[in-house]
Symmetry: C2
Subunit: 153 residues, 2 copies
């Protein structure tokens, strides 16, 4: 019962450890992508579009596990910068399809090797084994239904 009176161990906060690491690695990858002016999230969006050709906002959001309204806003920035074009879906009047412009394709092609270098360096710094384990640990992390409700409208 003495535990109740002890100060919180901020260092033991799982969420803090995660957010902290996330900020660090984001800065790392963003710095690598900096010559293209892209942030990692933007780059990944371009990458998904490059892979699937064309996708609706929600599909993109699901693929990258980003909140859909956030994805919609980011799509706006990418369109503003001429990297994507957005058009209504021919089969669903509610839906909008996003695809890369030629400019977006080129920028993606320019950014891809930079991303690969970031991946390579990250592995070099941490060891391939550690990175694989870390990614596996992240992937299998479970948060239950409490925090996933936001993914469903």
């Amino acid at each position: 019962m003495l535990l109740a009176n002890q100060p919180l161990r901020v260092d033991e906060c799982n969420c803090n450890a995660m957010r902290r690491a996330s900020r660090q690695i984001t800065r790392f990858y963003d710095a690598h992508l900096e010559p293209t002016g892209l942030r990692i999230t933007q780059f990944l969006t371009l990458a998904v579009l490059d892979e699937v050709g064309s996708a609706a906002i929600n599909a993109l959001a699901e693929r990258l596990d980003i909140e859909r309204t956030a994805m919609g806003k980011m799509a706006g920035f990418l369109e503003r910068d001429g990297l994507i074009k957005i058009r209504p879906s021919p089969t669903d009047g509610r839906s909008r399809l996003i695809e890369l412009t030629e400019k977006g394709r080129r920028l993606h092609a320019e950014a891809a090797p930079l991303w690969r270098e970031a991946q390579r360096q990250f592995e070099q710094l941490n060891g391939a084994k550690n990175v694989t384990e870390l990614r596996r640990g992240l992937r299998k992390m479970v948060v239950g239904s409490l925090a996933t409700s936001s993914s469903e409208d």
Copy 2:
């Protein structure tokens, strides 16, 4: 060399895995803290202040590894809500000391068991062993000097 022409494996992006997990766990902890109206970052700031009593913006930022200007802004919100008070440092005219108000102390005390519950549930969902390993993996992650330059003005 065929690798150069293959689509990016978004699923293999370390940064994406990390950000994704960070978003998930943030939602999880935020949901637990929701009755207090605090977000996890705000709560952790209150917790550090509860622990050390009084701290300058930069010290807080360092402790939580948050960019100092971001910390300054968040301190503004906490002050606006009456949870902290900010006063000039008696020993350094450039510095401002932050400490909890009585209201902040109470809210922290209310939020602490919610945070503990989030910790407990997270461990229950993932297994204590997995959580410890995950936290260790996050803590020992290295990003080199490229992405840490932002911590130095």
